[in-house]
Amino acid sequence: MSQWFSNLDRLLRGEFTKKDELQGGRVEMPARKLILAAVVLGGVYGACMGLYSAMGGREHTGWAVAATAAKVPLLFLLTLLVTFPSLYVFAALANSRLGMKQMLRLLVAAIAVMLGVLASFGPITAFFTLSTDSHGFMVLLNVIFCGIAGMVGLAFLNRAINAVFPGGAAGAIDEHASADERRAAAEESGRARRIVRVWLLIFGAVGAQMAWILRPFIGNPQLPFALLRPRWSNFFEFILNSMGDHWR
């Protein structure tokens, strides 16, 4: 177990994503151990998140905590499953130096970073859970924490991916290249970055939608325990309708 977390520590320090290794198309990291560490960390944060539903003296509180502990890592891993094929295809089109396995490892690393950051917020979430009874506040707090963790993970991914495209941020253009070759490499690099940004948006949108499917996470004390809420609408319709109701 301690080895898993030492790997996570090394990942957060950037030891597995050094620029020269990425430029050489290598992502050397113990992906399986990182996945296990990510699942444990996600579970820890999920338990802290689900603790709120255990506070109201409702029935099945243990199940509510266990369900949220399982759903948080599941949310990230399912999002990875849905978005990985498109990232691989569009990154390959942009001449990424990474093959399929390396790209998957990099994404696993990004998920581990997200869940590592999220787990670090766990004690704060637990503290607020114990000291407040406002469901709205807890929803907002968790959305903010998940948003921060997501942005840190995506920034990690963006930085790493920039280094794996020809002429990327690391400036891997051959110094003997002609002006035309440099211009072509710069154009290709710009296109690759645009592709990555579009994909990051897709990842965020799919993650939001996946969270909508897997809800409830926190557990409204007014409602009985349910593993999953009935499927109606979707995250974006809900946001638009909420905004419409608010401004009507």
């Binding site: 499953l81 849905v82 295809v89 089109l93 072509a184 499917i213 979707n234 995250f235 319709e237």
Partner: protein
């Protein structure tokens, strides 16, 4: 799958699918296009939960790509001849085939996202919108491959820029009508699954014109 079809090589423009290669990997490109297009079609037709609709859409998506290309190719060939680019047509054709196969691969890679959209909405218009977005993204991917194949051609003769612009314009014009004729793809759950709508003969541009007039 990599050693036989070399999808990774297709996406990167290397290996068997390398830009400027002497032999055209015909059957590989055809198999990639058929398999990947059918995969997306099957997902696309699964909205109403009718297996028959999935099966027909799985056949129609590759059909749309292939037949729209065949309809456009004679005109594109003539355009190349008129521009004095006849000698490079083989390389241009190779680029077009690779772009079509890339289009299908991009669609297939986006199919889990389409499936997720279907799993979370009962709004048919939202499903149509999601598919339109996936097709737009796949077109961008295909354009990337086409541009890659055209880069050395443009370097040898700048007139290829006109041909590079002509193909997507022509193809989009024809494919939009062909897609309209071949509908339904998604399958509105309020209608029975069918290969073609009974009132299938129509014109997308005329319908669009009347829609715009009706809106104002």
């Amino acid at each position: 799958m990599r050693p036989s079809l070399d999808i990774d090589g297709l996406l990167r423009g290397k290996g068997l699918h390398g830009v400027g290669g002497r032999s055209v990997p015909w059957w590989r490109l055809a198999v990639i296009l058929l398999l990947a297009g059918a995969l997306y079609g099957a997902v696309m037709g699964s909205y109403g939960g009718l297996p028959a609709q999935s099966a027909t859409s799985a056949a129609k998506v590759p059909l749309l790509v292939v037949i729209a290309s065949l309809v456009c190719l004679p005109n594109f060939y003539v355009v190349n001849l008129v521009l004095g680019l006849g000698d490079d047509f083989r390389a241009a054709f190779r680029g077009i085939l690779s772009a079509q196969a890339t289009f299908a691969v991009c669609l297939a890679s986006l199919s889990p996202i389409t499936a997720l959209c279907y799993a979370t909405t009962s709004n048919y218009h939202m499903a149509k919108l999601a598919n339109a977005a996936m097709f737009a993204l796949a077109l961008l991917g295909a354009q990337q491959t086409l541009t890659r194949h055209y880069r050395p051609l443009i370097a040898s003769n700048p007139r290829h820029r006109i041909a590079l612009l002509a193909w997507p314009t022509l193809y989009f014009f024809v494919a939009a009508q062909f897609a309209y004729v071949l509908r339904p793809y998604i399958g509105n759950p309020e209608f029975p699954a069918e290969f073609l709508r009974t009132h299938w003969w129509g014109n997308v541009y005329v319908d669009l014109w009347w829609s715009v007039r009706g809106a104002f």
